[in-house]
Every structure is written in C-alpha cells, then in structure tokens.
C-alpha cells in the first residue's frame, strides 16, 4: 500500500514536472519581459513623470490627467487618423494585388519557381533598407520622377517628400511593395488548400469561370482572407521603420505614424507619462478591435 502510493505520486510528479519544465521558460520570459513592463506602463500612465524630474518611484500621482491630455490632444487624433488612412490604403492595395498574383500563379508557367522567389524577397528585406530604397527612388531627381517626366512631360515630376499627401503616398507604396508578397503567400496557400470538388460541381452546373470565382471560391476563402487582413492590418498599424527612414515624420509632422509619435513623445521629448497613457489606450483599443474583427470568424467556425 505504502509502495503503491509512493509509486503513484512519483508518476504524477514526472508528468507534472515535465509539463512544467516545458512551459517554464516561456512563462518566465513572458512575465519578466512582458507582464512586468505592462504593469509599469500602467503605473507610469497614472503618475506625472519625466526623466528630468528624477526618481520615478516617487513621481506624484496624477490620476487620469494623462489620459485626459491624450484624449483632447488634436495631434493624437490626427496621427491616429493618418495612420488609419495609411493602413486602409496599404492593406487594400496589398490585398487586391496579392489576390491577383495568387490567381495568376495558380497555373504553372516556365520559371515559376524563380518568379516566386523574386516576388517573395521584398518581405525579407529589413524595413530600413526598404525605406531607404524608396527614398532614393522618389528623390526629386530620382528615377521615378524621371520616368514620370518621360511619360507625362515636365509637369509629371512631383515633389514627393515636400507635400504631405505625396509623402504619405510614397510610404504607402513602399509598404505595398514590401508586403504584397505576404498577402500573395497567404492567399495562394489558401486557394491551393480549398476543396476542388465544389468548383468542379459548379463547372458541371454551367457556371463560367468568373462566376465560380465570385460565388464559390471567394466565399470559401473568406476565413483565410479575414485572417490575412487582420494580421496585415495590425502589423501595418505599427508602422515605424519606413516612416522614420523615408520622411522622418515630415514634412513637419504631417506623415508621423502613431508609433513614431509615441516614440517621439516618449523618447525624444521625454514625456514618458503621456506616452504611457497613450500606449495603454492603444493596447485597449487594439484588443477590442481585434476581438470584434475575429468574432464573425469564430462564430462561423462553430456553425460548421
């Protein structure tokens, strides 16, 4: 009896220990690097503190003052709106182009593997390099303007980095160039994994190719599309490197993305509490939005 109990506890122990050991590193990492800083952010957002003011553990309590400042700051809303515009246009373009590419790639053609390699590599370049490349391309005397002048005459050249809308355009273009391959990848894999029989059935029922695509293929692809859009939109929302390198937020602050704005506020101007409040608000907002965006997906999954 004694023996059996001992053996039993040893057995439980082993599996338990095993499981613990497996996730321990992850938990430690998450807690140390993630959870504690998150708590710190929340703390910071409720006090008034800047590095120049000295010891942060004794910073005066500020209640919701920081949050109030954030909410009424016009610049915050402008930046938010601007970032959302960038996300909207960039992701839409990436989706459409990626879909077109995926459809195009469905049939084989000579050199397809090379083709795929080439269009995939922009995703892997460091963002800063992409930013710099596009900066070079859109210089006043750069190749893009040169081509435009050839095509449209001398009025074709644009002062790309001097006009806010144009500057935003270049950023969007750079992002599209870099991330269309990502959309392509997901959509291509998704298309390839779709069951083929409903498509065949549609053919035998007399549907033309585009009808099949619209009525059968796309609806079946919807979960993949949603995920792709959500992931890319989230990533694009965080855009920092491109803006930093290409325009530095300029001219003035007209192309500042949200991440860049927080960076400036916190690390360049030193208003860490303000930045903290903004960060917390962002965290909450993103969580909510993601929740809502994913919900139709979850619901549909259950319905299956």
């Amino acid at each position: 009896m004694q023996n059996a109990v001992r053996r039993l506890s040893r057995w439980i122990n082993r599996e338990g220990v095993f499981k613990l050991a497996l996730v321990a590193p992850l938990q430690v990492t998450m807690w140390l690097i993630l959870i504690v800083p998150t708590l710190l952010v929340i703390y910071l957002s409720f006090v008034r503190w800047e590095p120049v003011l000295g010891d942060w553990t004794r910073a005066p309590f500020a209640g919701l003052a920081n949050y109030a400042h954030v909410m009424v700051d016009a610049r915050v809303w402008e930046t938010l709106g601007r970032t959302l515009i960038i996300v909207f246009f960039a992701v839409s373009l990436e989706f459409l182009l990626g879909l077109a590419l995926a459809l195009f790639s469905l049939n084989t053609f000579p050199g397809k593997r090379l083709f795929t390699s080439i269009i995939l590599y922009p995703m892997m370049l460091p963002w800063v390099v992409v930013g710099f490349t596009f900066y070079l391309l859109f210089l006043d005397k750069g190749p893009v303007n040169y081509i435009l002048i050839q095509l449209l005459g001398s009025g074709g050249a644009q002062p790309w980095f001097k006009e806010p809308p144009l500057a935003i355009g270049t950023i969007i273009l750079a992002d599209v160039w870099q991330w269309t391959p990502f959309m392509f990848l997901i959509l291509y894999s998704g298309l390839g994994a779709l069951p083929k029989e409903p498509v065949e059935a549609a053919m035998t029922l007399g549907a033309a190719r585009w009808q099949i695509f619209r009525l059968v293929t796309l609806p079946m692809l919807r979960p993949v599309i949603v995920i792709a859009l959500v992931i890319r939109a989230l990533e694009c929302f965080k855009i920092f490197d491109l803006v930093f390198i290409m325009t530095g937020g300029g001219p003035g602050t007209s192309t500042e993305s949200l991440s860049l704005f927080i960076y400036r506020t916190g690390f360049v101007y030193g208003q860490l509490s303000y930045a903290a409040a903004l960060a917390v608000l962002l965290l909450i907002a993103i969580s909510l939005v993601t929740r809502i965006a994913i919900r139709p997906l979850e619901y549909r999954e259950e319905a299956r």
């Binding site: 029989e197 409903p198 059935a201 053919m203 035998t204 007399g206 549907a207 319905a303």
Partner: protein, 371 residues
C-alpha cells in the same frame, strides 16, 4: 434493345497519368434512358471514365459523343451533363435552396422561374422542409438529395453519379438505392452510375460494365454477368462468397474428355471442342459458385446433375437465411452455401454434388472464358 441511336458514345477512350494508364481503350454505347453501372475495385478507372464524360478530366485519346455532338473538346459547362459527387461537393456556405438554384441562377434565369423549378424538385426529393438550412448543417441523406436535386434542376441530358451512396450506412443504403432507381425510372433520364459495390450494380443496373485496371472486362446485363462471366476477374468479382476456382488439366481417356484435378475429374462433352481450340496448353481453370455446390440430398430435387463427392466440413458460418460452409476435399478448400435450415457441423463428412451445368471454364493464360 431499342433502335434509337445511343445517347452517349465513347470511342477508344484512353487516359494516362504520368505514364500510368488509368483507362485503356474504352468503347461503349449507352442507350437513352438506360441505367448503366460502372463496377470495379478502386483504382480500376471507373471514376476516371466518368469524369472524362463530365469534362473534369481530359482524355489522352479517344472521343466522347453526346447525341450528335462531340463533347470531349468542350469544357464541363457546355456539355449538359449532371454530376453527383461522392462527397456531394455542396456549396457548404449556401443554403439548400441556393444550392439547388445555383445552376439556373448562373444562367440568368428569372428569379420567379428559378423559384418554381427549385420548389418542384425540392418537393419531389422531400427537401422542402430544409430548404432554408445551411448546406453544412444538413444530415447525410438530405445532403445526398440536394446533390442530386442540384443537377436535376438544370435538366441535364445525362446524369453521372460517382459512388453517391458510399457514405450511407448499410440499412439506409438499400433504401436510397430503391429511391434512386425509382426516380430514374419515373424521370426516364439516362444515368451512369459508378460503384465498387457489386450488389448495388447488380440490383440497380440495366447493364453493368465491369472494369479492372483500366480495362473493360465485360459489359452485359446483370443476369448475363452472373451466369456467363466473360473473364476470370468478373467471375471472381461478382457473387458473394466468391466463386471457387480449381486448376485442372484437360485429358482424353477412352475417347471421353475430362478435366482433371488430382483425383477429381469432370467429364465435358459439349464444351470439349471449345476447350481444345481455346486452351491449347491443356490447362483449364474450372470455376464453380458456392451456390452451385449442393448437398447431395438437396441436389436431386433441385435438378442438379453431377457426381456425388464426399467432402470434409471444415467451418460453418451461419448467416440469416443461409450458411456458408468451408469444405475440404483433397488439397482444395471450397466454399459452399446451404440453406439456413440445413443441419451441418464442422468435422462431419458430407456428400455434395457439383452441378455440372454450372461449371465455368477459363483459360489461365488469356483469363477469358472458354465456350
């Protein structure tokens, strides 16, 4: 049967995949209104042939004719054939109604007429109560009927069905078989039905086409296939339990012709000439169905003729109405079927009669039937 021209004509159809021959030289005429079954084990090419008729596969060689039109160069959309898939291939995200309506809608038919036709078909298939339900939520039998109804709505000239009852459990399967057959008869539409279940093919088909490894073994009515299998494969494939095969040697003794296996021999008269002609090597495979080996006491009343043979009963498997009995004689293990009421036990000796009139002869080299 009729003098009307065949509705489907397949001419020397051939399909190769990466060097493997899936279908080799298939030629067939299908009469209008006929229910023909493609029967064979998996991989024999029956589904591939069906898909070629539908346009889902392109033949490597050969022609396919529907009525007066040659359809093999045409895409599936333009052929006017309906296809029911093994796994139904419904549009899962649409309702049953939308599935049924699909074929008409893509042709631009007016919503009013679409509605009328859909409801008509739904009614006949008893789908009206579930019309608004999402396709993925229907039960198996309803899915099957939607898959069928979807094609019926567009009134194709021919219906192609790829093992549609595969997913049904045995009890429901028989019921659905009856339903399908009844429907085919009342609609009068030509059906090409693929299955690997011989019982299904034999009970439903007007004709059965048996395929094996891409080749056509035999095309005939079920009765003909059962009674006069043209090849060794067909003989062994049709009928359950399978036919018994015995290797024999042709011998002439005292002017009489025999097929001899060890100490057993069967005398043949009428087929002697055929054997001499078609089996020059002298080796002949004799096939006899388990239901044609009868206990001696039953053989005479049934009118069976043949010599009585004592055998050793090895195993008795009782079923509902009959018993399958494994018997041993010499080096052979044969299966026979006796009525369920017949008393027999393992280990006993039994006198049986092999019905001489029910012997099937095959040439071991060509695998074809002799005579």
């Amino acid at each position: 049967m009729t003098d009307a021209p065949p509705i489907i004509r397949l001419r020397h159809l051939r399909k190769e995949f990466d060097g493997t021959i899936a279908v080799a030289d298939l030629t067939l005429d299908v009469a209008e209104g006929e229910f023909i079954c493609f029967l064979g084990p998996s991989g024999c090419g029956k589904t591939t042939t069906l898909r070629m008729i539908a346009g889902l596969e392109r033949p490597t060689a050969g022609e396919i004719w529907l009525r007066e039109r040659r359809i093999d160069p045409l895409p599936p959309q333009q052929r006017g054939v309906g296809f029911v898939f093994q796994n139904y291939a419904l549009f899962w995200h649409m309702s049953a109604y939308d599935n049924l309506a699909f074929g008409l809608r893509v042709r631009g038919v007016s919503p009013a007429e679409v509605d009328a036709r859909v409801r008509e078909v739904a009614e006949s298939l008893e789908l009206t109560p579930v019309l608004r339900q999402r396709a993925s939520r229907l039960d198996l039998s309803a899915m099957q009927r939607v898959a069928l109804g979807r094609t019926l709505v567009v009134q194709p000239q021919v219906l192609l069905l790829d093992e549609p009852l595969n997913n049904f459990r045995p009890g429901l399967r028989e019921v659905m078989r009856g339903e399908l057959k009844r429907m085919q008869l009342s609609l009068g539409r030509t059906m090409v039905y693929v299955t690997h279940d011989q019982e299904e093919a034999m009970t439903m088909g007007d004709r059965v086409l048996v395929m094996h490894e891409g080749r056509v073994e035999q095309v005939a009515t079920p009765r003909e296939i059962y009674r006069r299998p043209a090849t060794l494969f067909v003989a062994g494939f049709i009928g359950r339990p399978a036919m018994n095969f015995i290797e024999t040697q042709y011998q002439v003794e005292d002017g009489r012709a025999f097929l001899r296996h060890d100490a057993l021999r069967w005398e043949i008269e009428t087929r002697r000439e055929a054997v001499e002609r078609q089996a020059p090597s002298g080796r002949v495979i004799v096939g006899i169905r388990p239901e044609d080996i009868r206990p001696a006491v039953l053989a005479v009343p049934e009118g069976r003729r043949g010599e009585t043979l004592p055998v050793q009963v090895d195993l008795v498997q009782p079923l509902a109405r009959r018993k399958i009995v494994d018997v041993k004689v010499l080096d052979l293990v044969l299966k026979m079927v006796v009525p369920g009421t017949f008393r027999v036990d393992a280990g006993q000796t039994l006198d049986v009669v092999m019905d001489r009139g029910a012997l099937h002869l095959f040439d071991p080299q060509t695998l074809r039937a002799i005579g």
